[in-house]
Symmetry: C2
Subunit: 218 residues, 2 copies
């Protein structure tokens, strides 16, 4: 283990969820998180996202009106609870999670965002629509917590942050897909009250077939 | 059959797909189409959409940057092929479909949009995002053709219009869900080259459970 690239949390850990607002240091971190998630899903061969594509897609509209990313940060020190400049999303802070045992972040240097603050996870969301309903929804495209930070309640913190945004924006639902082999996530979502829509199949048209189909319209 | 509320097409039928642009006469038609689709899916008990909610959600951004509706119109007369004022979507016109037999629209009065022009179907789309990919996608939330106009190729015309929008906007995919009992649609989509993403489950959080989960974040 490279000492310089790892941090140990001994008794407590604090967490903050904040908006990824403008192209900044977050983008490389977000790209690395997405890559780790693709790796977890065994989908790296399909990965085409780049730091540039993230910068180009995430900041085209006010937060939550189009593709939007929230990032989870952790620190051994409490996060200051101060009014935030960006009123579109007030950072969610939970200071002083108690740790049962000390824990090590082997990639803390890679994911350092400030002094003693480390990026630990993310969610990607965008507005969704079901024409049968009065209110739009919020689609949760990705939710991810880095391996060393799992089991502490950070997934629940991210998921409830998404639910909170949806509720505050007057949206009627949060919707998402989950891999059918991911029993742990499924158990978590069902515990949170999510409803499994079992009778629908997911379809996609892409690549050459998309172009062929587009050509029918001329 | 009420003579005043029905039209007969004898030899030919023409079709046009155009944008539902500003709150106008389209909204009542669109609401009726959505209601017919819900009825087809046996989901009317979940239907909460209103004409007002459609007006409020469909026109909040430039077309295809948020929730957007396209409408299919038919007429016994050819549609004039003239440059359209709204450059964000050039109407797609296919004049003179040949009919094998004469056909009757029993609700032509209800769905009349102009003299001898009748609303026959719709699609609802919005931008979607998969963080693994470089390019955003276009989600097709609803696609519907009124019963009397099925089997003539209008579904294909609507679907390829969506593919065309996605391709022209530089999007990487069209994605949607289909009810697993809807074998005819599934066959159609697979013929068009769509890929069935079999290993994902669709989840939703809504109602009281959404609020409970939102409250965790405070």
């Amino acid at each position: 283990m490279d000492q310089e690239n790892s941090s140990t949390f001994t008794h407590q850990i604090s967490a903050r969820i904040r908006l990824v607002t403008v192209p900044n240091n977050d983008i490389p971190h977000l790209h690395k998180l997405i890559t780790q998630m693709a790796n977890y899903h065994n989908l790296t061969e399909y990965l085409t996202v780049t730091e540039t594509s993230l910068s180009n897609t995430l900041f085209k509209s006010p937060p939550f009106h189009s593709f939007t990313a929230l990032i989870l940060e952790v620190s051994p020190n409490p996060f200051p609870i101060t009014p935030h400049k960006d009123l579109s999303f007030n950072p969610i802070i939970k200071n002083n999670f108690n740790l049962k045992a000390s824990m090590l972040d082997p990639q803390s240097n890679t994911f350092r965002s400030e002094n003693d603050v480390y990026v630990a996870g993310h969610v990607l969301v965008f507005p969704s629509y079901n024409g049968f309903f009065e209110k739009p929804g919020l689609n949760m495209d990705q939710i991810f917590v880095r391996k060393c930070y799992r089991g502490l309640g950070f997934g629940k913190m991210l998921f409830s942050a998404v639910a909170s945004v949806a509720a505050k924006m007057g949206m009627g639902m949060v919707d998402w897909v989950v891999a059918d082999w991911n029993g742990e996530s499924i158990k978590f979502y069902e515990k949170m009250g999510a409803y499994y829509v079992s009778d629908y199949r997911l379809y996609k048209l892409y690549g050459e077939k998309l172009q062929q189909c587009a050509n029918i319209s001329g």
